[in-house]
């Protein structure tokens, strides 16, 4: 038996259609739309003006506070507009629009870097570079990495976990990255270990990615400090708390962080971005995006410049197929449905999923038959049926005392409900109302 977490969990059909498609480089778009709020925390502050010439990797918006991040120009070109555009959240957000300079050769430089294994920077310099180079968590939450890595003096920290789980169905961006940039990722892990001064790292990979497991086992054969943890396939194992439980059997306390049990978790994508920043002086301006869907002609994985309109990605896989009903930014379990395809790829876009008519619509919500399935699958040990009832009746205080806030919004409850009840929708609503209530109380 492989390791896994104990409470709850589901196993939806994996549908990893693109797991054998190597990552292609997407053509550089004519125009990029770079939102200034791509990460969790305070939006960045724009430091360029219309008509400014920018080069690749130049800072165009600087960090707006501690929990914030720099944003760099993904292309060389001219700033044409600073205005609000709809982004993946569906709201209008401030964006920096840059027209790509078609004559600038740096835009089309597809030369791959050679692997560089010797780490020259000191721990302090590493942290500074991660801060400056706009690295955020690429697993989807986009939490600024330097905040995570800035561990207070005196905190016991003994293990770095690398999240290569990719438990979302359909998505294969992390899987492909692990296969194609394995040695770079190992160096990236060493960089983070050096920065944090810890001597143990475990790469967690689910058993449906056997090739990646074998590859990393082979690469870490002679490494005494880096191990590979093979995990049973189970959603939501990529959740930080679930991963810590699965690999180390430690319980992250309620409302706590992995740091409370001496662990830091980083996604493989983030580790690769850190590698590029430290070894090749490259800020975070592109990422891997899986563009997938059962009816797509050429579903695949792409290296995409941040700010590229999703339209370009869809064109690259042969256009939207007939009968498309939903387009999701992210995976099918936690991704956000988007209304139009003009919105740009951001640092948090791990995939674009195109869903057809028969899969898109939800079943009609019926009476709860009290089967308890939502309780059995909840990875946080909550009672979704109860939370939904309480929120429906507006008993926010009681929902709060039933720990509604610890919900990680993985969607397992809504996924299994045989009566198609919108459990997670009500829980989200309840969490927001609870937050407002707390603000009023304070």
């Amino acid at each position: 038996m492989f390791k896994t977490f104990q409470i709850g969990g589901i196993h939806p059909p994996e549908n990893k259609i693109t797991s054998t498609s190597s990552i292609k480089r997407l053509t550089v778009p004519k125009t990029v739309y770079v939102p200034i709020a791509q990460h969790i925390g305070i939006p960045s502050e724009i430091i360029v003006a219309v008509k400014d010439k920018v080069t690749i990797g130049q800072v165009i918006a600087k960090s707006g506070g501690y929990v914030s991040s720099n944003i760099h120009s993904p292309v060389a070109g001219v700033v044409t507009k600073l205005d609000k555009f709809i982004d993946t959240s569906g709201y209008k957000k401030q964006c920096i629009v840059i027209r790509t300079d078609e004559k600038d050769p740096s835009n089309f430089n597809e030369q791959e870097y050679l692997l560089k294994t010797s780490i020259e920077l000191s721990p302090k310099e590493i942290l500074q570079r991660i801060t400056d180079f706009g690295i955020v968590g690429l697993g989807g939450a986009t939490f600024p990495s330097h905040v995570k890595l800035n561990v207070r003096e005196g905190t016991t920290l003994d293990c770095l976990l690398i999240n290569g789980v990719e438990c979302e169905p359909y998505l294969t961006a992390d899987h492909r990255l692990m296969l194609e940039k394995s040695e770079e990722i190992i160096v990236g892990i060493k960089i983070v270990m050096r920065a944090l001064n810890i001597s143990k790292a475990i790469i967690g990979i689910e058993n449906n990615k056997k090739d990646a497991i074998d590859l990393f086992k082979n690469l870490t054969k002679n490494e005494s400090t880096i191990q590979v943890g093979t995990l049973q396939v189970k959603y939501p194992q990529g959740g930080e708390k679930q991963l810590v439980k699965a690999l180390l059997n430690r319980d992250v306390p309620i409302n706590g962080l992995p740091l409370d049990v001496g662990v830091i978790v980083h996604n493989v994508g983030t580790i690769f971005a850190i590698y590029e920043a430290i070894q090749h002086n490259k800020p975070l301006t592109e990422r891997v995006v899986t563009v997938t869907g059962k009816n797509l002609k050429n579903a695949s994985n792409f290296w995409v410049k941040i700010g590229t309109p999703i339209n370009n990605l869809i064109d690259a896989v042969g256009g939207l197929p007939e009968g498309t009903r939903k387009i999701v930014n992210g995976g099918p379990m936690m991704g956000k449905a988007i209304k139009n395809t003009d919105v740009p790829v951001t640092k948090g876009t791990s995939g674009i999923l195109v869903i057809s008519e028969n899969e898109a619509s939800r079943g009609k919500s019926e009476n709860c038959i009290r089967c308890g399935e939502c309780v059995f699958v909840c990875p946080m040990g909550l009672e979704p049926y109860l939370l939904m009832n309480l929120v429906e009746k507006n008993f926010i205080d009681r929902a709060s005392s039933e720990d509604i806030n610890t919900c990680i919004e993985c969607g397992s409850c809504s996924y299994v409900c045989p009566s198609h009840r919108p459990l997670l929708d009500f829980i989200r609503f309840g969490k927001n109302s609870e937050k407002k209530l707390q603000t009023v109380k304070n």
Binding site: A337, K339, I355, G372, E373, G381, G411, V416, H420
Partner: protein
């Protein structure tokens, strides 16, 4: 592609293919072996009882939803059909038709619809119907046609008691278990269901087959059936070991009197059982204890229906006292 046809909704964007309807039909499929056995044992009358109960349950649900509650009719969800089958399985096959109809009315009208319909009832509807009939018409409800020999006769069938009835009666007249055992059917007959009893409760073999199907299809989990049968066996076993001449052995208690029907199909009813595994175990042990107490010391020879209904009443209390363990709840966070 115009943006008009693109819909948005909150995650998750995929759904498992389990539906309430499929769960109901899975339970119905699991009841087929028991039904076939009862057709063999009681003949066509078993079919009539089941058909009448099913049809009247569906009709009552339709009438109540259309004319009284004026809500959407949901007879297609399979729940009324299932209630009808389970009610019939708890009735003797020679029960007068009008009594079956009254039982159905109580099951659907009183136990289910008056609470708000599917999902809101506290008590198992089929059992409420059955217990109502048992209390109102004790004579007709405890006269079971003898097996097999009656299968072609519909009227004037020879009637007799169930194994547990024989035991209870014998013990009341001061007979010892050795004397009573000679009057009981063989274990083979008890296991395959060639004994007197309600339509669907006699064949341990067929019910186990259905139970295993439900476990494999993950409609039910092992917690309720195992805890319930285990506690019945444990308690009756202790008494049997202490005084084997006064008490029947646990095997008889498990094989007869609807213990298996109750454990796999009635106590596991999704609506009226607890929401957590811990709660299910508590609930099932409660049923086991009450069943054993009624059978060993009560006036009725069997007590599964009463035990389940009594424990149904405790389900809300069990739900609020046996909650799942929250992730990371034991340790206090350093941050807060």
């Amino acid at each position: 592609m115009s943006s008009q046809s693109i819909i948005i909704s909150a995650s998750p964007h995929i759904h498992s293919d389990r539906t309430s309807k499929k769960l109901m039909y899975d339970v119905i499929i699991a009841l087929v072996p028991a039904f076939l056995v009862s057709l063999y044992v009681f003949g066509i009358s078993a079919f009539f009882v089941t058909a009448i109960a099913v049809i009247s349950c569906i009709i009552f649900e339709y009438l109540i939803q259309t004319f009284l509650l004026k809500t959407t009719v949901t007879i297609g969800d399979g729940s009324a059909l299932l209630t009808g089958i389970l009610l019939a399985f708890n009735l003797p096959s020679n029960l007068p038709i009008w009594m079956i109809i009254v039982g159905s009315l109580v099951a659907i009208g009183v136990a289910k619809m008056s609470f708000g319909g599917l999902g809101f009832n506290i008590f198992n509807p089929a059992l409420v119907g059955r217990v109502f009939l048992l209390i109102s018409f004790p004579v007709q409800m405890t006269m079971w046609p003898n097996p097999v020999e009656n299968s072609i006769k519909i009227a004037d069938a020879v009637t007799g008691a169930t194994p547990l009835g024989i035991i209870k009666e014998g013990l009341m007249f001061g007979e010892t278990m050795t004397e009573i055992t000679s009057k009981l059917p063989s274990y083979f007959d008890m296991f395959f269901g060639l004994i007197g009893g309600s339509v669907g409760e006699m064949s341990a073999f067929a019910l186990l087959l259905g139970g295993i199907y439900l476990l494999v299809r993950r409609v039910i989990s092992w917690h309720i059936p195992i805890s319930m049968l285990g506690s019945i066996a444990l308690i009756t076993g202790i008494f049997w070991l202490v005084s084997p001449e006064q008490y029947a052995n646990p095997l008889i208690h498990i094989l007869t009197g609807g213990a298996l029907l109750g454990a796999f199909f009635m106590a596991t009813d999704l609506v009226t059982s607890p929401m957590t595994k811990k709660g299910m175990i508590v609930f099932a042990i409660g049923i086991g204890i009450i069943t054993a107490v009624i059978r060993l010391f009560g006036a009725y020879p069997e007590g599964v229906s009463f035990a389940i209904l009594i424990m149904n009443a405790f389900v809300p209390l069990i739900n609020s006292n046996f909650k799942p363990k929250r992730f990371g709840a034991k340790i206090k966070s350093k941050i807060l």
